[in-house]
Symmetry: C2
Subunit: 255 residues, 2 copies
């Protein structure tokens, strides 16, 4: 008999709700969104406020996420084994390939970026660590789905949002693409999320050979793909090598 503490679940639901939109939310909005009484919601919010998990705008009374979460989030990075074992390999991959490198792990039907090495050139880039990517429109996400780290259903349930005209929105197309990924051992994404951008990713395996994450390179279509829009074989090899090296570090046997 599982006994999940629902006041904690509700608190987490509030935090997720506040994180989902960039906007500050009022007490009424929060209560309505979760189907809770205002009084109940207020009690939880007051508690979250005491521990700095949420802050309240003194002027409008609206709520937003609090500072303590930032520290907890970065503390998570310190203990994340996937990340710490990958850093050196990711750096090397970025240097050799000349592309931005990102590491992803599954979270809530999305891909959480746990590490990000900028493209070696000096162009302006924003740090993606902590961001959530869609499963079906990113090379990292395709890898995670193809190798069973996260079920295809969870992506379909979340809704196959269309970002560009290349986004795979039909479940059967996506399923077919994942079959290919399984056969090839790596995934690509070409202008499926942002026009002009593409990416390549390969699976990272942990102890028992289970896929626990993915590593990928991404950049403009011209650099990632050849003139026919096919990913550069040399880049694919580099990404797969890095993925295997990290898997080995994590204790995966023969991969």
């Amino acid at each position: 008999m599982a006994g999940p503490v629902q006041s904690i679940e509700r608190a987490a639901a509030i935090l997720r709700l506040l994180a989902s939109g960039p906007r500050r939310l009022g007490l009424g909005e929060v209560a309505a969104s979760l189907g809770l009484a205002k009084g109940t919601t207020h009690g939880i919010l007051r508690t979250l406020q005491n521990i700095d998990f949420v802050e309240q705008d003194p002027a409008t009374g609206k709520y937003q996420l609090g500072a303590a979460l930032l520290h907890l989030g970065t503390s998570y990075l310190d203990v994340n084994e996937l990340r710490s074992r990958s850093i050196n390999w990711a750096d090397a991959l970025a240097a050799r390939s000349g592309e931005a490198v990102r590491l992803g792990a599954p979270l809530e039907g999305k891909v959480l970026i746990v590490h990000h090495v900028f493209r070696p050139d000096d162009t302006l880039q924003t740090l993606d660590v902590g961001a959530l990517l869609p499963l079906h429109a990113s090379s990292l996400g395709k890898v995670l789905m193809a190798f069973g780290s996260v079920p295809l259903d969870s992506a379909v349930e979340a809704g196959l949002e269309s970002y560009t005209r290349h986004t795979l929105v039909a479940p059967e197309h996506l399923a077919q693409a994942l079959t290919e990924v399984r056969e090839l051992g790596w995934a690509a994404e070409v202008q499926e999320m942002i026009m002009g951008e593409a990416g390549i990713a390969a699976p990272i395996r942990g102890h028992g050979g289970l896929v626990v994450g993915a590593i990928g390179a991404s950049g403009t279509v011209e650099r990632i793909c050849d003139s026919q829009g096919v990913p550069q074989p040399s880049l694919v090899t580099q990404v797969r090598h890095a993925a295997r090296a990290i898997s080995r570090d994590l204790g995966a046997a023969r991969w």
Copy 2:
């Protein structure tokens, strides 16, 4: 009569405990540290695990922070007004001064770094965003204490840990230093946390003139200070200008 939801408070205590040490903790350790029954602790941990706030090492059964916190933490950065209003000024200050620039806000008797611009040269630097600095051994912390953003007591209670032989460990010395800071309008820290490193900081004020954060430049002693170990006046001016500019952006009247 305030009714803080204590299961949430306990959950937060567990998260803080897990964040405090880089080590994974067992159920027994957590329960003992918080003075709770094992069963109670287990229920909370199970709930936190369901929502990805903590993860459990399948091999050892020990617990660590979970991935969802990373996303919440970065989401906080998106809504933090102090940070968003400061980014441009911080960039400019780093470029003009040639030093690393950091923004701090008070959290749990420490200074939380909410923004960090690297020193413009290409030396290897680690991102401090999300890190907690001590109040008494950082220029940012001194500013926050001196201008009432956080009481001096909270630093004394936390214990004036000694990092170098220059660290201010006597409450009366610290109090005197803070008086100076109030008079001057800015704070310095010279080798009080790390030998060879120094910093300068100035207060950032919000709506009603209340100090809500601090901005500071930091680097090696040779660059921050002159040959007598006194902070460079030009650098002080630049930092104070940036602080005033941000305060204005935040809506503070005449500062």
